[in-house]
């Protein structure tokens, strides 16, 4: 799918992303999720109501978006900021391949740092590879795919990608989507919860959208984000002389 050009871009992106000190940040929130899960499980082994709140609400509205934000804005945004992206763009690689390759790395890393810990936390919380654990993994995996399309796109269209990304996560998703039902239609966090809830129904997940709506809206948002990113990268401009 990616060809030799895509593989080279993914290899450079992976080395660049994991080689920065920022990579340590990727592990912080998933680690907190696992520690909280273990602590609660040890303190209240018989209780089950907390699972949806901790793994669903906390996992999907804090851990997933923040980790995706850091990774999604790193894979391309850091190169744009540094200027090293010019070496990549001064080659005949189609800009869609650049975006697809960067995005694939971002989604895979987010899945590694969020979906896998969600699965582990689900296993710890439920005592095995239960339906809920698999649902949490699937929801986080879907969220990794969807969030990164938005954050990679933001890193191409603006130099303030982290600020806008944070505003989206904290204001739109955490605030508006909880109080205004219409806002949930444009919330990736809600799509992720919708996917998880569709697999293992759990009222504590507080999912506001059905599996079908989540899947369709998620696919639209992902495709739109990647198309906008590729078009913006095709018009990438270097600043000229100080004027």
């Amino acid at each position: 799918m990616f060809g030799v050009q895509g593989r080279v871009i993914m290899w450079i992106t992976l080395r660049a992303t994991m080689g920065r000190k920022r990579a340590l940040l990727f592990a912080i929130t998933p680690l907190i999720l696992l520690l909280v899960t273990v602590a609660i499980k040890l303190a209240h082994p018989a209780h089950t109501a907390w699972r949806g709140h901790v793994l669903g609400i906390f996992g999907f509205t804090v851990v997933l978006p923040l980790t995706a934000l850091i990774i999604g804005t790193s894979v391309l945004g850091a190169e744009v900021d540094e200027g090293s992206i010019v070496h990549l763009l001064a080659t005949p690689v189609p800009r869609s391949v650049v975006i697809a390759s960067k995005y694939a790395v971002a989604a895979a890393l987010t899945a590694l740092f969020v979906a896998v810990p969600e699965l582990l936390a689900g296993v710890i919380a439920t005592g095995g590879l239960t339906k809920l654990a698999v649902a949490l993994f699937a929801g986080a995996l879907a969220g990794s795919v969807m969030y990164n399309a938005i954050f990679v796109m933001l890193s191409v269209v603006t130099t303030r990608a982290i600020a806008y990304g944070l505003a989206y996560v904290l204001v739109w998703e955490s605030l508006l989507a909880n109080f205004v039902s219409g806002a949930r239609l444009l919330s990736v966090g809600q799509y992720s919860l919708g996917v998880a809830n569709g697999i293992a129904h759990d009222a504590a997940l507080n999912a506001g959208l059905s599996l079908g709506t989540s899947a369709i809206m998620g696919a639209i948002v992902t495709a739109a984000g990647l198309i906008v990113a590729a078009r913006a990268l095709a018009s990438f401009s270097l600043k000229g002389d100080a004027v």
Binding site: V4, Q5, V8, I9, W11, I12, R15, A16, G19, E82, G83, S84, V86, H87, L88, L89, A90, T91, P92, V93, P94, R95, A234, S235, F236, S237, L238, G240, D241, A242, V243
Partner: protein, 309 residues
């Protein structure tokens, strides 16, 4: 067909015109793009390289528009001014990655050849983060050369280099030019351009002030009006004598000495010593007052762009 052609190309940012109605053609060999900082050289190079859209005009590289056309990089190589490169890669990894991105049939051989051209074979397995500024510049040139492009653009390639590194880079670019490649590099230093290129394009304030053979433009520069500060044992008497000379267009007695405006730098320089000797006046100081590159460029543009083709 010339490798690079610009016809009435302008670029503006809001109300500020960075590049103003430039028409030029650049063929094989080394061409220097000369001008003071902020003259619009980088803006022009970025437009040629496909990293900036012209606001107006037509611009082609090897017959094709460069904006929104990634395929242009099959015939174009770019070494941008900003010294940012994938520092975590080794030199060999960087050039090999570039060869693979170009989908060359034998990327390994192409990378080795490019590294040999820039004489970086010995350091190719070290991480770029350990390179000196000159080495980084050379490995970036290798990355831009790996596909053997017809046109190579370099933005201020000598910035931050020591004299030895400059000489090496000049030899490299000169050799590429002799092999029929079109090399266009920008610089704000007259001597760099003088040593490297026979053909220059001079930019001042976004406009093309002069273009063509370097020696002809150099003559225009040296025969421009110059202002000198002259201090002697008898400034007033020398002033009276000087005002009668054809090469002198004005004399002013100031508290620091004589301010002399000469119409011809070369003639005045030759005459001043003989005149003071004949008049028995001791010449204590002779200082050019407007030797900045900006004043040279300003002259060129004030005279409406002397073309030295």
């Amino acid at each position: 067909m010339s490798a690079v052609e610009l016809r009435n190309v302008s670029r503006w940012y809001g109300n500020v015109v960075a590049v103003n109605d430039i028409t030029m053609t650049i063929g094989p060999g080394v061409t220097g793009l000369l001008g003071p900082n902020g003259a619009g050289k980088s803006t022009l190079l970025h437009m040629i390289a496909g990293f900036l859209a012209p606001s107006r005009g037509e611009l082609t590289v090897a017959g094709a528009a460069s904006w929104h056309n990634p395929d242009i990089y099959r015939t174009l190589g770019l070494v941008p001014e900003r010294d940012s490169v994938y520092a975590f890669l080794t030199g060999a990894e960087f050039v090999l990655a570039s060869a693979r991105l170009h989908k060359l049939p034998d990327p390994g051989t192409a990378a080795r050849r490019a590294i040999e051209i820039v004489e970086m074979t010995g350091a190719q397995d070290r991480k770029i983060s350990t390179y000196s500024k000159g080495m980084r510049q050379r490995i970036r040139v290798a990355g831009a050369l790996v596909h053997d492009p017809e046109v190579l653009l370099l933005d201020e390639p000598f910035n931050g280099m020591d004299p030895r590194q400059r000489l090496h880079m000049m030899d490299l670019l000169h050799g590429l030019g002799e092999r029929g490649r079109t090399i266009l590099f920008s610089s704000h230093i007259l001597e760099e351009v003088e040593r490297l290129s026979g053909t220059i394009q001079v930019m001042v304030a976004g406009r093309l002030a002069a273009s063509g053979d370097f020696r002809a433009i150099r003559r225009l520069m040296t025969s421009r009006p110059h202002v000198f500060l002259v201090r002697t044992s008898d400034d007033r008497r020398l002033g009276v004598t000087l005002i009668g000379r054809p090469a002198v267009t004005g004399v002013e007695v100031t508290e620091h000495g004589l301010s002399v405006r000469a119409s011809d730098f070369g003639t005045f320089s030759r005459e001043i010593a003989a005149l003071t000797r004949d008049e028995g006046i001791r010449l204590r100081e002779l200082l050019p007052e407007d030797e900045s590159l900006e004043s040279v460029f300003s002259y060129l543009i004030e005279t409406d762009g002397p073309k030295a083709r």
